[in-house]
């Protein structure tokens, strides 16, 4: 029986207070178990990013959880204090963002930034620390991890930067990783590699993954279940195969149909996976 890592129930998030408060998420339900990849699908304004920030307690000024619960490994994160959340972040619960360019500090090497993450949670130093860094960089696909550790962000391509960020996010082997549109800013070949990397990490680390995207095809390559968001509301959810073959909601159907496909494969959801197998 799979253990439920994350269980979001009726999550509501609003910006502003009192009369000016604007609710951007109207009750999200989402569960993720160990070793499972769940997709969170939506376009801009759907609230998908807000949901992930809420889970990590990173909503920032103005945004706050106005209702619902966020159970992570048994405890309600919505009630957790900042100090406790800081302990969890990076160690048990991690996140990678859309633009690798701005997520890395341009003034420090990759190695230094990964070291920061490790040392925040484990008392490692010196040779052991360098070894850990090299190991994780090799794990995410760097062929020369030592050189990668010494590199500055601007010396790396977009794909390599994203790999470095993934390395920093999983180095402490979190049980849950939230990936917010991690490949949107990347080329299609790099995108495929990153998705393959995430897939293997989920398998090997038995990690839970929340994969946020607006591209259903991409989501389907990785996730077994998905939740579709629109304007802050859950429009549909379920097994990915089900969503594609029998979308219950018009919006889901619209999303499936709008994905540009090579002419030969431009069929409805029903025919797609049959033809491709």
């Amino acid at each position: 029986m799979k253990s439920e890592l994350l269980s979001v129930e009726g999550l509501r998030v609003a910006y502003g207070h009192g009369r000016d408060a604007l609710e951007v998420l109207h009750g999200l339900d989402l569960t993720v178990s160990a070793g499972e990849a769940v997709g969170l699908v939506g376009e801009s304004g759907s609230g998908k990013s807000v949901a992930s920030l809420a889970v990590l307690g990173l909503l920032g000024s103005g945004g706050h959880v106005t209702g619902g619960r966020i159970f992570f490994e048994g405890e309600d994160l919505a009630q957790a204090g900042e100090a406790h959340l800081r302990e969890l972040r990076g160690k048990r619960l991690s996140m990678i963002f859309q633009d690798p360019g701005t997520a890395l500090n341009p003034a420090f090497t990759i190695g230094t930034q990964i070291a920061d993450v490790i040392r925040a949670h484990r008392p490692v130093r010196g040779r052991a620390l360098a070894g850990d860094i090299e190991d994780i960089l090799a794990r995410v696909g760097f062929r020369d991890p030592r050189r990668a550790a010494r590199a500055y962000p601007h010396e790396l391509s977009g794909g390599m930067k994203q790999r470095a960020l993934i390395a920093a996010a999983i180095v402490c082997e979190p049980s849950l990783l939230i990936a917010d549109e991690p490949t949107t800013a990347l080329d299609v070949t790099v995108q495929a590699q990153i998705v393959a990397l995430l897939r293997s990490l989920v398998r090997e680390l038995n990690m839970g993954l929340v994969f946020i995207t607006h591209n259903l095809d991409l989501m389907a390559e990785l996730c077994s279940r998905a939740v579709v968001l629109r304007h802050g509301e859950v429009v549909e959810h379920g097994e990915v195969a089900q969503l594609f073959m029998q979308p219950a909601h018009a919006y889901t159907r619209q999303l499936i149909d709008s994905i540009p496909r090579l002419p030969r494969e431009a069929m409805t959801g029903e025919g797609r996976n049959h033809a491709a197998i």
Partner: protein
Amino acid sequence: MLQSDRAVPLLRLSDVGKSYALGRSALARLLRREHFHAVAGLSFDLAAGESLAIVGESGSGKSTVARMMVRLIEPTSGDIEFKGRSIAQLAGDDLATFRKQVQMVFQGTMNSLNPRKTVATALAEAIGRDGVPISDLLDMVRLPRTVLARLPHQLSGGQRQRVGIARALARRPTLLVADEPTSALDVSIQAEIIRLLRELHRTAGVTLVVISHDLALVGELCERVAVMQTGRLVEIGNASQVLHAPRERYTAELLAAIPRGLAGQHAAA
């Protein structure tokens, strides 16, 4: 002025190259003498009325090619001919005519429209004295009259992009170059814009060049596809050939990387 002859392509690129001198300051550039080649040895023809896609990843040079086609930047080698005449030589009235006939649709970021000018002003500027009447222009891109009084930040991404297309069509261009016209848009809006472009290509007879990193997207829109990699033309041909029976390995790699949804999941399991 040359008569439009079937044999003369609308646009011809002959061994076009674009190199940038490296160096932070003008002086450094003079002294260093190293170059970065954004585009090299590019040659192809564009026939009147056709739709061509130029695809490639970042750094492939596709945007540079687009800007050279509309003469926003000049090639450092080779030549581009529009209706048989080299565009690098154009000046005065000839250049003005070229500007009317060749237009560009941009990516549609927040800065695709002047943030201080209303849609009405922006379109009026584009129309000038002899362009398409503003209400016809709005109809062509399926925008309601109400957008005229709006400022760009009051429009949605899709609306801004339609205004950008209207702006480009204002003086009835013969050639329209669209540089990543849907990259900044939501998936559901992308489809609308593609449909709009396809319609304009068919009904208005505008020759269309679409720059994109999304192969599947251009497959729906264009008859011919050109693939670029690090500044060079890798492959060019009919869409059905390039996208389903590519001759080059790079093209095959690009195609293989396209997410295939459920099929991809089954394959990986």
